[in-house]
């Protein structure tokens, strides 16, 4: 039978080593562990599993250490593992079969990385060259990115085979990434030094480029990686990843045209590589080529299951692509299509909250809470507290207070609410005029509670919403006594004065104050005290008001006060005559209030200022069609004897 030696290097791996060695039981015939200076039980554990342990004086060179292990191997084949890895159980019989194949010198194995990304744990498969014939010529080289595949491949590229059924499971990927990040300066230096010695080593240049990329030097990374790719044998296994790195580096360097050019080039070689299209989509999106971006993301979705040598990132042909397609569909005013993509995105990755937030937004939970809830529950299961809590956050951010309250109560039924969520509950209650219940919650907090200032602030709003001038003054003074930042203090003053009759000196708020102001105004508008909210804005200095006029106008528009919105947006337009979005909002307001000709002018102005926004043209198209319908309606009334008008009108009505 063909024999296999496991070769490892290790230092202080007592936590991991057992798991690793247990996984290869019966799979290998010999275990060699080169210890590079452990001070824990690593060596003992290794011996327990029957390993031959040899100490090696660490010399800052991974290759030397690994080669020391190879020197000791007596098997026909060598398997290389790290201590934080294990061989997947189902790979053990495969391993035996693979090493028995003639004509093969080495295998690329599949490595599955468990990482904790922003969207929870993701599997991020890649491939690594870890199984090869034990020959004296096959030795590692390279200081940090030690490699051996090229040495084996020098006997013929086709003799190195990808084996997707040989799987290594890797734990602690994130820790390792973090560790490497901390070492990135050192790594960069080492890589540069080594490259100076071997300027023709493409693989080395590739690793150097990757280090540059990690260090955020994107333009340089793209240049080095391009050099590494130039004239590379197209069968080289790392070529697809290398090309993707070039694309991503150019993208991050904001050199979109270069990125797109590289996508074109790489897609000719690897037309089924999802990541290329995904990043092509991102680059197109960022240079406002929205139609092209849409086609790229659709292409990414259409790619088949990704080959291992692509090491495709999570979601490239799934939730991430769907998410961008949703955003683009919204830009083209197609909410139905957008919703479809967001749902597909969330189905692909249930912890991708960005998609959930978008779905909720499209369902307009403030307008029809029951429908929104019904639709959401039909789509997904929100019964777990974690899912419910996520929804609460989203509803709360979107000022859908009744729905937020429903889910808070659902959570409260099974467990004690965290303090912050309890305050939210009080907020939701007072927004719905359930003052007593709100009061009870707020009064439950003592002055020692770390969230007490937040509670106090909400008490202020509690009285402000009810128009209780005296209480607002009292609570306001109590808040001042707690010691507030200048901005928050100014905001408290603004709230107090908004109920007063005498004119106070104008207030200029900083960023923090403005964000509190917007939150307060939102609650006031939701509650229905529009005049009080206007009084808040009237207390601002002229400069502060005009700096924030767009935001304020947008808020008033979204909360059903087009007349206020128009005033502020016109201030914004005078302040920043180039702001296309302001004109777009003005046009929306005018269209909704039936002032079509003014709307028409404002849409055109928005287009003139930002001609790449598809939504502006699409809304204008719709407006022209509405205007045409009105003309036809009037004509039908005025000339009932002419049937053509009626049939044109009916035709127009059936158009989507």
């Amino acid at each position: 039978m063909v024999s296999i030696s496991l070769c490892m290097i290790a230092r202080n791996e007592e936590k991991n080593l057992g798991r690793c060695l247990a996984s290869v039981a019966g799979a290998v015939d010999e275990i060699i562990v080169v210890d590079t200076g452990s001070t824990d039980n690593t060596c003992q554990i290794a011996r327990q599993y029957g390993a031959r342990v040899q100490s090696f004086l660490w010399n800052d060179n991974f290759s030397d250490a690994r080669n020391a292990a190879l020197e000791l191997a007596t098997g026909d084949w060598v398997l290389v593992l790290d201590a934080d890895e294990e061989l997947a159980g189902e790979s053990i019989p495969v391993l035996r079969r693979r090493v028995a194949e003639a004509g093969v010198e080495g295998y690329f194995m599949k490595i599955v990385n468990y990482i904790g990304g922003e969207t929870g744990t993701e599997l991020c498969p890649d491939m690594v060259f870890r199984l090869f014939r034990n020959r004296p010529g096959y030795r590692f080289h390279g200081l940090i990115h030690e490699q051996i595949a090229d040495a084996v491949a020098s006997n013929g590229l086709e003799k190195c085979v990808i084996a997707e059924d040989l799987v290594i499971v890797h734990y602690g990927y994130l820790d390792k990434q973090l560790e490497e990040k901390n070492k990135k300066e050192r790594n960069l230096l080492l890589a540069r030094k080594e490259l100076a010695l071997k300027p023709d080593d493409r693989a080395l240049r590739y690793h150097y480029g990757v280090e540059l990329h990690r260090a955020g030097q994107f333009r340089e990374a793209a240049e080095e990686l391009t050099k590494a790719a130039n004239g590379l044998d197209p069968r080289t296994v790392y070529l697809p990843k290398l090309l993707r790195y070039i694309v991503i580096s150019y993208y991050h360097a904001q050199m979109y045209e270069h990125a797109l050019h590289m996508v074109d080039f790489a897609a000719k070689l690897f037309p089924d590589y999802a990541d290329l299209y995904y990043y092509g989509g991102l680059a197109s999106h960022d240079c406002q080529e929205y139609g092209q971006a849409y086609r790229f993301f659709e292409q990414a979705l259409a790619t088949p299951e990704q080959s291992l040598c692509y090491a495709s990132y999570a979601g490239m042909r799934g939730f991430r692509a769907h998410h961008y397609l949703g955003r683009l569909a919204e830009m083209f005013c197609n909410e139905e299509e957008a919703l479809g993509h967001y749902i597909a995105s969330l189905r692909d990755n249930s912890s991708f909250s960005v998609a959930l937030e978008a779905i909720v937004r499209i369902l307009r939970p403030r307008e029809d809470a029951a429908y929104a809830r019904q639709a959401l529950e039909k789509l997904f299961d929100f019964s777990s507290p974690a899912a419910g809590s996520l929804l609460v956050h989203i509803f709360f951010r979107q000022a859908a207070f009744p729905l937020a309250l429903q889910y808070i109560e659902q959570i409260a039924a099974v467990r004690q609410l965290p303090a912050e969520m309890a305050i939210w509950q009080a907020i939701c209650l007072m927004q719905q005029r359930r003052f007593h219940e709100a009061r009870r919650i707020l009064d439950g907090f003592t002055a020692e509670h770390p969230l007490y200032p937040m509670v106090k602030w909400n008490k202020l709003i509690y009285f402000w919403l009810q128009g209780n001038r005296a209480k607002v003054r009292v609570v306001g003074d109590e808040l001042f006594a707690l010691g507030l930042s200048e901005d928050t203090g100014a905001m408290v003053g603004l709230v107090k004065n908004s109920l007063g009759k005498k004119k106070a000196p104008p207030v200029a708020l900083g960023d923090e104050g403005v964000s509190i102001l917007m939150d307060t105004a939102m609650r006031g508008l939701d509650f229905g005290v529009g005049e009080q909210v206007q009084a808040l804005f009237a207390g601002l200095s002229e400069q502060c008001l005009s700096d924030n006029a767009e935001k304020i106008g947008d808020l008033c528009y979204r909360f059903g006060h087009p007349e206020f919105a128009e005033t502020y947006l016109k201030i914004a337009a005078r302040q920043a005559p180039q702001a296309a979005a302001v004109y777009y909002l003005l046009a929306e307001i005018k269209r909704e209030t039936g002032a079509h000709f003014e709307a028409e002018g404002f849409y055109r102005q928005a287009i003139a200022l930002d001609p790449k926004q598809p939504g502006y043209y699409i809304k204008l198209t719709g407006l022209y069609e509405t205007m045409r319908r009105q003309v036809l309606e009037q004509a039908t009334r005025q000339y009932p004897e002419i049937p053509a008008f009626r049939s044109l009108l009916e035709e127009a009505a059936t158009q989507p």
Binding site: E337, G601, P611, A635
Partner: protein
């Protein structure tokens, strides 16, 4: 001794062109002989202003006989033969220098530039200058030719050039029908004559009947195989591919181009034609390669039938177009600029450049960009661009264009009235009766309704423009009292609709910024006028709005091209 030259012409009903033709040879010929074959207009009288050698000849359907009759009256040593719709362009070499500089030649081919619509022209050689000898007499009833027996005595001249201007469609078609009959008769007599076949094809082609023309060109192409027939062969090849392309027989057309390019590598026009064929099929990448080759090849030798510009501005323009279609707007822009640099009079690239810029750049930044790129330094470009800005809906930018370009006389009152500066329009319009309408609009926009009414009443007195006046009076009345003042007679209604629609349209170009709502109000009034006026008014307005909606949709399409996505998203 200086050689003497006689201009010999045969004419009929050429009063419109003859003087220009005769003026163009002033000082270049010693003698003019004009044979009139029965003009009903002033042709003979005009001819007599230039020469006393005007003769009459009864037309008998034989061009050669008529021309030879003219030659029989020439006493000079050399003959120059021109048609009335041609002119001799003054060049570096005159006729006499050409003759004395080439003493061994007895006949000369001169280049003829046949202008098409636009700046481009086709160039081919015609034998029009020859010794006044009995052996050089015309043969053939139609498309008469001088027989050439001694090749060594034939010269090809680069100058002077004969210019042929396009005449009106009606006149041209009349001539073509006459020629068709003559040619058919001639071909019946000599069925193997490939030149006749080519001419027959050319007449059908000129009439727009490419399917009829095709078999003639095809036979001419197959039959004209000798090198000395190159003149006809190249013309036949290019017309043949054009006919095949028109019939969507792209593969065949392309094969012919390929075969002929292999035979005549210097024939630039075929590279260009091949590019056009591929472009029409949407093969932009391949088309671009052909255009690239054409642009690199330079003009073909004089004996090749040649369309001016295929070696430069036309090829560059199409290169740009292909790049645009391939989604490379920047490269496209560069080629368009090169095309404009090669020929500033050929403006299609300017239009494409403008559209590219418009789709990518906020309109107000465009004037600066164009200025910086030198596009406003040329009068014809500045004028063109101002017009493009106005039609694209940016009258303010049209005005800025003219201002930046510093050709103040190009200022159109419309640019001021609808570009946010109606107050400046009256000064610009002073004494300009044609701009009465713009003046009234300016007054309405400025709020001076009484002044506007006064102007409209003045316009009323001009019976030719009463329809316009009715439109303005009603607009003013709608603004003041909310109802129409006067209904036009049924016969005058069309003019009212046209005027109101034009105002509506122009107001929809007006600035949409805050503080410029006057345009929206005027547009609303014009719309009200149209709907209240009549069913036709309603119809016109509804159609107009439909076209606007479609144009806005096309704008997204042009920019992003994912129509499926937003077609179903309309409210």
């Amino acid at each position: 001794m200086k050689p003497t030259v006689c201009l010999a012409m045969i004419v009929r009903d050429e009063a419109a062109h003859l003087a220009a033709c005769l003026d163009s040879v002033k000082g270049m010929v010693d003698e003019i002989v004009v044979v009139d074959t029965g003009s009903a207009d002033d042709t003979a009288a005009i001819a007599r202003r230039y020469t006393d050698r005007v003769y009459h000849y009864r037309w008998d359907g034989d061009f050669s006989a008529t021309r030879n009759y003219a030659l029989s009256h020439c006493s000079s040593q050399w003959i120059l033969s021109l048609d009335a719709d041609e002119q001799l362009a003054p060049g570096p070499t005159g006729l006499r220098e050409l003759i004395t500089g080439n003493p061994e030649r007895e006949t000369f081919f001169l280049p003829l530039y046949s202008y098409k619509e636009g700046a481009s022209y086709d160039r081919f050689l015609v034998l029009r200058l020859f010794r006044n000898k009995p052996e050089y007499r015309f043969r053939g009833k139609v498309h008469e030719q001088i027989p050439l027996s001694r090749p060594e005595a034939v010269g090809i001249a680069a100058a002077p050039v004969i210019l042929h201007r396009p005449c009106g469609r009606k006149e041209r078609n009349r001539k073509r029908n006459r020629n068709l009959n003559l040619l058919k008769a001639a071909l019946a007599e000599d069925p193997a004559d490939c030149c006749l076949k080519y001419y027959l094809g050319a007449e059908w082609y000129g009439l727009g009947k490419t399917a009829k023309a095709l078999p003639y060109f095809s036979e001419a192409y197959a039959g004209l195989i000798h090198e000395e027939e190159l003149l006809f062969r190249t013309a036949a090849v290019r017309h043949l591919t054009a006919c095949l392309t028109a019939g969507r027989r792209w593969e065949e057309a392309l094969c012919i181009c390929l075969a002929e390019v292999a035979r005549y590598p210097a024939y630039t026009d075929l590279l260009y034609d091949g590019g056009l064929i591929l472009e029409e099929q949407g093969e932009y990448e391949a088309a671009a390669r052909w255009f690239q080759a054409a642009a690199a090849a330079g003009p073909p030798p004089p004996e090749f039938y040649h369309t001016n510009g295929t070696e430069s501005f036309l090829a560059l323009y199409h290169l740009g177009y292909c790049q645009e279609k391939l989604g490379r707007p920047r490269q496209a822009g560069r080629y368009y600029q090169q095309a404009l640099a090669a020929d500033s009079g050929y403006t299609p690239p300017l239009f494409r450049l403008f559209m590219l810029l418009l789709a990518n750049t906020p309109a107000r930044d465009m004037v600066g960009t164009l200025q910086a790129a030198g596009f406003l330094a040329r009068r014809e470009w500045a004028e063109e661009l101002a017009g493009l800005f106005f039609s694209a809906g940016y009258p303010g930018e049209a005005r800025a264009c003219i201002e930046q370009a510093q050709f103040p006389d190009l200022t159109d009152a419309k640019f001021l009235v609808y570009g946010g500066q109606p107050g400046k329009a009256p000064a610009c319009l002073a004494g300009n009766a044609a701009g009465a309408g713009e003046l009234i609009v300016a007054l309405i926009l400025a709020g001076d309704l009484a002044g506007a009414k006064q102007q409209a009443l003045r316009l009323w007195r001009d019976s030719g423009r009463r329809g316009m006046a009715v439109a303005y009076l009603n607009l003013i009345s709608l603004a003041v009292r909310g109802r129409l003042a006067v209904r036009p007679e049924k016969s005058g209604e069309a003019a009212v609709i046209q005027t109101a629609l034009a105002i509506f349209d122009n107001c929809l170009r007006g600035p949409g910024s805050v503080g410029q709502e006057g345009y929206s109000r005027l547009a609303a009034l014009a719309g009200e006028l149209l709907t209240q006026l009549s069913a036709d008014g309603c119809r016109a307005l509804a159609e107009y709005l439909q076209a606007k909606a479609e144009a806005a949709r096309r704008a997204v399409d042009f920019r992003h091209g994912v129509r499926r996505l937003y077609q179903c998203a309309q409210e």
